[in-house]
Symmetry: C2
């Protein structure tokens, strides 16, 4: 039995999220369907670095699975991409140590959140970026981001009732990037609470559009109270970009 680690991308538009659920099309279900075909009807478990919600995209999700088959890596890559639907692609596959675990061994994740500032949103980006009609003040958003950086109890930025007890996380990097009309928030951290990236994005955009002051952010973090932060930004602007592992 060999363990394989694969890096995959998916367009979240057509999925009810990553994780298998009844009567819904999910990324995990499509992956398992293809592996079952390759393994002649045997179920093969697929473990990802973590779930992503409905409409959320991934450019660098990492999964692992086990197989008794002796297929060269180029053969795996080809077979998976031929059998998978076009909205999921496998970009790289490698043999991993049998102890490797895509979820338990992550040392960090990077997410990207994309806004489109064009006066009229393009029909080509409507599922891939979130339109902001009012021109945001990016400098204010950058100032606000300073208060998020570092190690904090992120209760203010976590969906209520998640069952997670320890809400202390470390945000190592939080940058606002401008690419023409696109505005991206790139966030890298040790790990993220449920909806944390989208609540941070939503709160920073409320600063950008003048509904909150950048100087309020430190207080919002300190409050450790979800009701103090901004709205959860829409799912379709979010991309899981990279998953890091202890090496």
């Amino acid at each position: 039995m060999k363990r394989y680690k694969a890096t995959i991308s998916y367009d979240g538009s057509g999925f009810a999220g990553y994780q298998v659920q009844p009567d819904s099309r999910t990324v995990q279900q499509e992956l398992m369907k293809v592996l079952k075909t390759i393994h002649k009807g045997e179920t093969v478990q697929v473990v990802a670095s973590g779930r992503t919600d409905a409409k959320v995209h991934a450019t660098g999700q990492v999964i692992h699975f086990d197989s008794p088959f002796n297929i060269p890596l180029s053969g795996w890559l080809k077979a998976l991409n031929v059998l998978l639907p076009e909205d999921i692609r496998v970009h790289a596959i490698e043999e991993a140590d049998p102890s490797f675990h895509a979820r338990y061994h992550t040392s960090g994740k990077t997410y990207r959140y994309k806004w489109d500032r064009a006066p009229i949103i393009s029909p080509f980006t409507r599922n891939y970026m979130v339109h902001v009609k009012q021109r945001p003040d990016v400098e204010q958003m950058k100032q606000a981001a300073e208060a998020i950086l570092g190690t904090h109890d992120f209760s203010s930025f976590c969906a209520a009732n998640t069952g997670v007890v320890d809400k202390v996380r470390t945000v190592r990097r939080l940058e606002l990037e401008e690419h023409g009309e696109e505005l991206h928030m790139v966030i890298e951290g040790s790990g993220f609470l449920y909806n944390m990236v989208r609540i941070i994005a939503g709160t920073l955009m409320e600063v950008g559009t003048g509904r909150r002051a950048a100087s309020d952010l430190a207080g919002i973090v300190a409050a450790a109270d979800r009701s103090k932060a901004g709205k959860t930004a829409a799912a379709h602007g979010l991309y899981l970009e990279n998953v890091a592992y202890e090496s």
Copy 2:
């Protein structure tokens, strides 16, 4: 009665093409549905610069329509974009001379054809670019393009049985542009025959991948015979980018 000229974009993925046809979702049908709503049930004809086929996109299609309503241009823009589905957007609208005609008065059109040369196509571009697995030789494609430029009988590059008698057209510009992994063919001309841009794209790519020689192109043009040219390239790589009018 006022005549309006509007520049629109659409994601062709969800349409059976521009022109109204029974039991299919088309761009013209969606436009007319919205104008009918605005005009309280009265049918308003919409005339475009020309049709586009199923899956073909537009970033700069031009339409005209007449309305007795006295709505300011900013109001038209807002109303149309609120009522239209998200895969059609109106980018600009202006009042035109009552004699202006979106189809009859065109003086030229620009199309863009997009290929993705990435080893594995991204799930995000699968409906918007055509994947080429083999790395094409762009220099050979540029050489081949030279034979297309200018005024020719383009019968070799026109779908058979179109009923059009005069197949002489002028290609004013034909460029291959590289943008990272993307390869674009930009073509501008006085007018185009049915499938002409896609047959030119398909033929140039056959040169790029070594299935034809660049030096064959002059002979293919001179033959005035559809069977001599390459395959019609897939619809979803094609964009109507600009329509020019005599001013």
